[in-house]
Amino acid sequence: MTPLGALFYLFAALGLGAAVLTATRRNPVHAVCCAVAVFLSVGAMLAVLGAPLPGVLTVVVYAGAIMVLFLFVIMLLGLPAGDGALPPGRFLVPATLAAATLVALFALIGADPTAKTVLPAAMAGPAAVGTILFDKYWLAVEAVSILLFAALAAVMLLGRGKTGRKIAAAGGRAA
């Protein structure tokens, strides 16, 4: 095993372990902490797989922004911390389904002989990724940006809530 390969397995083990912990935590803040660990591991795995730009962006976007947002919402809403372990029965049906899917997936992955060859180490520069992103996938980028804009507008609308409407109405009367 090469050092890079060892790193990959290390981060994969860390990430999967943290993911299991996330799925089983009662306390939402603990779950968020574990989820951050998952995303840091995913970022590291991406970097090991020769994708440093997506890896760092994963850390910036997932761990640095989205999970902070989750934490912010937990703190804002004061979500209760549950006590005790989750009832294992609740996991029964989803876990069975997931296990069946996984078995099928592993069979498919194992059936492919080309997937058994060890990948060569490579490193893509951010400039090359950016070029291909804005050159070949410009439509997708535009679509995602429109999606983000729509989400932004929706969040604004939701966030204004009743008080915002009241203030707007009061302002309308005053004007």
Binding site: G15, V20, L57, V73, A98, I109, L147, V155
Partner: protein
């Protein structure tokens, strides 16, 4: 030399499955959202691995597009949660059934 593509795909599949189980089994909207994020991240991981396997950068571009999707999803989901909670709701997914039958 790193790892075989099959191992990358296996790791991604496991992460996807954990995210899926989490989204299905947990009651809190917050944790369901985290589960969905896991599934999206797992997809990105598979894309990056495939990109390395076939030595082209389309996979990495896909990861970045997925990331944009995921942030839109998380932002909107959390805004809905805050909105619902402000309207007197809880963070339990089961309690949002106003459009369903009376129960």
């Amino acid at each position: 030399m790193i790892v075989p593509l099959s191992h990358v795909l296996a790791a991604a599949a496991l992460l996807f499955a954990i995210g899926g189980v989490m989204a299905a089994a947990r009651r809190s909207i917050l944790l369901i959202l985290i589960g969905v994020e896991f599934m999206l991240a797992a997809a990105g991981l598979a894309f990056a691995g495939a990109g390395l396997a076939w030595n082209n950068l389309d996979g990495q571009a896909a990861v970045i597009i997925i990331m944009g999707l995921a942030s839109a999803e998380a932002g909107l989901g959390l805004a809905l949660l805050v909105h619902g909670r402000r309207g007197g709701g809880t963070d339990r997914a089961d309690s949002y059934h106003r459009l369903g039958e009376e129960s």
